[in-house]
């Protein structure tokens, strides 16, 4: 992908995170009840809407954070082959973390 495409995704996930994190915090903290109680957590785990929010939050947060890390590392004068290896490693790490972290809410659904 071209750098511009990656940047568009960075901006889009940033905007998405604003709404997703906002939703998560609003419902968790501002609407009544204890968000960490067993009833509350198991209720959200059984909800398709919440599952979607959490998966999207995970996906957007992982992309935004990993691409941000990539941007910082690419500021350094690293050789092109090393940059390619770094890109590949970040993709593998991102997919691995997403797979493991997504397994938890999906299996709880």
């Amino acid at each position: 992908m071209r750098e511009s495409h990656l940047k568009i995704l960075q901006y889009a996930t940033g905007v998405g995170l604003f709404f997703l994190v906002g939703t998560h915090l609003t419902v968790s903290l501002l609407i009544g009840g204890e968000p960490t109680s067993w009833e509350s957590v198991s209720g959200r785990a059984a909800s398709a809407a919440w599952l979607t929010v959490y998966i999207l939050l995970l996906m957007f947060g992982l992309y935004h954070g990993i691409h941000g890390l990539r941007t910082v590392i690419l500021e350094l004068p690293i050789p092109k082959p090393a940059a390619r290896v770094m890109d590949g490693a970040l993709v593998v790490i991102g997919i691995a973390i997403f797979s493991y972290a997504a397994y938890i809410p999906i299996s709880a659904f």
Partner: protein, 270 residues
């Protein structure tokens, strides 16, 4: 008579292991610039001092130097404005040194060439054998005129913190010129320039430090040009925004209707 102390970087490859500083005492004259001081040193004290200069009026961009820890044109910097009697002069940072105050500006020109800094026209026949002028409104001219004032002095690349960490970064000068030509209604080469700027060392490394615009002696504001380039590139990918209206060819006088009554031509017209 008031005297100034010039602390000048000296370096001769092959003789000196690394650059060192040499001090010269220069008498202050009214209206004197840093370049005047260097000329005095070369003519009266040490004729081996090497530096670039040409127009001595801030239009050629040859005398770019690091003066009192800021990139400036030596001819365009009155010593009184520096507010000190000690003038430190070094070659431009972020460029290799050839000798003394002479920097190797090849990286600047290579990056500049890579963005195709000329009008690219899809109408090759018309470009090679023009049949008429290309019409451009004053608004269309104003959209890029500011960025056309660039004199390729290299001060912006010297000031840029991203060039300091990544020498392969295209830099404010070439990215600014990429926008200048892409915004020109006579040009159809925007996509080729976008591809060049859309690399790992391209436009997205710019984080809007703004040091380039602060250093520019001609008011080009390359930082603005880079942000406009980013917007143009994103709009091109997302296919949003108004498409650029290409400049039409002016009708020949024989084809256009005269706005006022004019006498008949007395010579044959083509």
């Amino acid at each position: 008579m008031r005297e100034l102390t010039f602390r000048v970087q000296r370096y001769l490859p092959g003789r000196d292991g690394k650059p060192y500083v040499q001090e010269f005492i220069v008498p202050l004259r009214e209206g004197m610039t840093v370049l005047d001081g260097l000329i005095y040193i070369k003519e009266n004290i040490d004729n081996t001092l090497s530096y670039r200069s040409s127009c001595r009026m801030g239009i050629c961009g040859s005398c770019g130097m690091f003066i009192n820890r800021f990139p400036r044109l030596a001819c365009h910097t009155p010593v009184e404005e520096l507010g000190t009697d000690t003038i430190e002069v070094r070659s431009l940072p972020n460029f290799p040194v050839i000798r003394d105050l002479v920097a190797d500006l090849d990286p600047l020109f290579e990056k500049h060439k890579s963005v195709k800094p000329y009008i690219v026209s899809s109408e090759i026949e018309e470009a090679e054998r023009p049949t008429g002028e290309l019409l451009q409104s004053s608004e269309e001219l104003e959209s890029y005129a500011q960025f056309s004032y660039c004199v390729k002095c290299g001060l912006c690349l010297s000031a840029c913190p991203t060039v300091a960490t990544d020498p392969l970064f295209l830099g404010p000068q070439s990215l600014g010129q990429a926008y200048r030509y892409s915004a020109d209604t006579r040009d159809t080469g925007a996509k080729e320039r976008f591809k060049e700027a859309d690399c790992r060392h391209g436009v997205w490394l710019c984080h809007l430090a703004g040091a380039c615009s602060e250093a520019c002696p001609k008011g080009v504001d390359p930082a603005l040009a880079i942000q406009l380039l980013k917007r143009a590139m994103l709009f091109d990918i997302l296919r949003i925004g108004k498409a650029k209206q290409l400049a039409p060819i002016a009708q020949s006088p024989a084809e256009s209707k005269p706005k006022i009554d004019v006498p008949e031509f007395t010579v044959a017209q083509p």
